[in-house]
């Protein structure tokens, strides 16, 4: 097994990876910016190395300094976490060129799957259903209009390099298609340095359902069931759960089989997530995109399957074979995760960085909190506003919601505003309780009802 791993990330995922390293007897090296000296990850790490000033571009995205730190600390492997450089195939390649193992897929499959257009083509090749849309990049407004008319309005315009809701636009007619396409291209060029966009059918009532997979370097790929992440605000996931309350066992198995098929087609190894959009009315699912990294919401799958995904990820990166087969995966009970952020939910979820003066996390049977925060910690304004992920695991969805309600009630965080009150309202909303939420629920309905 690896002797020493560098964690090129921060916050809760850095702490999470350190915990996995500990369990595997691996030393953890954490790199950090000058703003992150006092973090729990720095404190827990065996070695901590400062790599730059607060701005992510000069620290957590600074490939040179990260590699230099890895060589200085003589690490065997680099874990990229999520966000930052986790899906940067150039970074993965540089790491490997330096004879350091990258804990992720090959640069080739990352390239093939990380680009929305290429990934869709790959899905079509593999026979995985995709949202009706342009066969590739839209070449011109005229090309776009032709495609949109063929699919039928409304359509979605998406930047191929986008993610997290950026570079997306809905068009209801030819005019808004042209203006939306130009705007999306401009936004994508500015944000990702790549203006390429595609067009897809826009589903009116949809749920976001994703399949967690993991593959080893020996060609084995196993699907670990789905996560339903339909409760989103502006395409940002707020709540994730497993199993999905809206799909049946046959659909579940088909989706899992398709996810495995896609991963095998791309010769994928590492943990990964195949995202689908599920059309509630047609009861049909379509491939959306694949994330070639560990995800924020991986804990939901860990709770129901009992598998430690980060440990498994490290093991397959080392070259080990998966310790389980598809037949071993028997998810138990129901798990829900909510993201507790330092945000003022009543004022457009405005970030609320600052010092946490009091912090008591909930605990008890079926309650898990993944966090890097503690009383006395100052949340810096430079990065995301996540405080913690609260994950509950009950025998069924009703029990999980009850546990969640109690855990949110018990959670004490003072000094910054948090999204705890938002989640308390959300999980008592009858639409959430009855699983009638679509991906548009929060943006279009929830706030009207709760203001």
């Amino acid at each position: 097994m690896f002797k020493r791993i560098l964690i090129a990330n921060r916050g809760e995922i850095a702490v999470r990876v350190i915990r996995a390293c500990r369990r595997l007897g691996i030393e953890a090296v954490v790199v950090h910016s000058t703003a992150d000296r006092e973090t729990l990850a720095v404190r827990m790490a065996d070695v901590a190395i400062c790599i730059g000033p607060p701005a992510a571009k000069q620290s957590y995205l600074n490939i040179n300094n990260i590699i230099a730190a890895g060589e200085l600390a003589d690490v065997d492997a680099i874990h990229p976490g999520y966000g930052f450089l986790s899906e940067n195939s150039h970074f993965a390649q540089v790491v490997r060129d330096c004879n350091i193992q990258f804990i992720g897929p090959s640069s080739q499959s990352m390239d093939a799957l990380g680009n929305k257009g290429k990934a869709k083509a790959l899905a079509i090749d593999a026979g995985v259903p995709t949202v009706p849309g342009s066969p590739g990049v839209v070449k011109s407004p005229e090309d776009g209009i032709a495609i949109a008319r063929k699919i039928g309005y409304p359509v979605m315009i998406k930047a191929t390099a986008g993610g997290g809701g950026r570079g997306m636009r809905i068009a209801h007619n030819d005019a808004s298609l042209v203006s939306g396409l130009i705007a999306a291209q401009r936004e994508a060029e500015a944000a990702f340095g790549n203006a390429d966009c595609i067009i897809e059918a826009y589903l009116q009532r949809a749920r976001h359902i994703e399949i967690q997979i993991i593959g080893d370097q020996h060609g084995n790929v196993v699907a670990l069931g789905e996560r339903d992440c339909s409760t989103q605000r502006r395409h940002q996931k707020l709540v994730e759960e497993s199993p999905s309350p809206v799909i049946d066992q046959i659909t579940r198995e088909k989706m899992c089989a398709d996810a495995v098929k896609l991963a095998k087609t791309a010769k994928y190894f590492n943990a990964g997530t195949v995202e689908f959009i599920y059309d509630i009315d047609r009861k049909a699912y379509y491939f959306l995109e694949m994330n070639t990294r560990i995800q924020v919401e991986h804990c939901v799958t860990e709770m129901v399957t009992g598998i430690d995904l980060v440990q498994a990820q490290i093991k397959v990166a080392f070259g080990e074979k998966l310790e389980f087969t598809q037949a071993d995966i028997k998810p138990q009970g129901h798990a829900i995760e909510v993201r507790i952020n330092a945000e003022d939910w009543e004022h457009g979820f405005a970030p609320s960085p600052g010092k946490i003066t009091m912090y008591v996390a909930p605990t008890g049977k079926g309650v898990r909190v993944d966090s890097h925060c503690y009383a006395g910690y100052t949340i810096p304004p430079h990065y995301d506003s996540m405080i913690a992920k609260l994950i509950v695991h009950g025998r069924d969805r009703a029990e999980a919601i009850r546990f969640l309600d109690q855990a949110l009630d018990e959670y004490i965080i003072e000094g910054v505003k948090t999204t705890i009150p938002f989640h308390q309202r959300l999980i008592r909303d009858i639409r959430f309780v009855n699983s009638q939420v679509t991906t548009k629920f929060i943006d279009e309905e929830f706030f009207k009802a709760h203001s």
Partner: protein
């Protein structure tokens, strides 16, 4: 908070020739250190457990903390990258610079080996004057922000 308490404490420091002071009550924690630079903003690689060059590193900042008045107003040259410092071009030659050397913008002050490459560290724009203190040793591991030289 009221600046008076800090003034009182600095007065105490002045009167008693102290260079460092920590005051902690149930609600208040004050940490004062005289001089032009604060070591806490420029630590070297932190080794918590065992692995790389464990013993030498944590002791370094305290040992290197200079008497304050002497270096007040000095400018810092910091390491831009984690790596290993080399103070001389090769083992048989003298240091790039030593205490007392006059330097100007662009002057190479040391090498930092990172990723098998020896990076020349040069005095940045605005850094000009005399090397007052060398804060690192030849072959020492440094991280981003480690203070290498004081120039005044």
């Amino acid at each position: 908070m009221d600046i008076k308490i800090i003034k009182e404490l600095t007065k105490l420091m002045r009167e008693n020739d102290l260079v460092e002071m920590e005051v902690e009550s149930e609600d208040l924690k004050v940490k004062l250190r005289k001089g032009g630079h604060d070591v806490t903003v420029a630590p070297v690689v932190q080794h918590h457990a065992a692995p790389v060059q464990a013993a030498a590193a944590p002791a370094a900042p305290a040992a290197a903390a200079p008497a304050v008045d002497e270096f007040a107003g000095c400018k810092q040259i910091i390491s831009p990258i984690p790596g290993t410092v080399y103070l001389k071009p090769n083992p048989d030659t003298p240091n790039f610079v030593s205490v007392g050397a006059q330097i100007d913008e662009g002057k190479v002050v040391c090498l930092i080996e990172a990723m098998k490459v020896f990076n020349e560290i040069k005095a940045e724009a605005g850094i000009k004057g005399t090397i007052r203190k060398v804060l690192v040793q030849d072959g020492q591991a440094v991280e981003y922000g480690t203070v290498l030289f004081l120039v005044g």
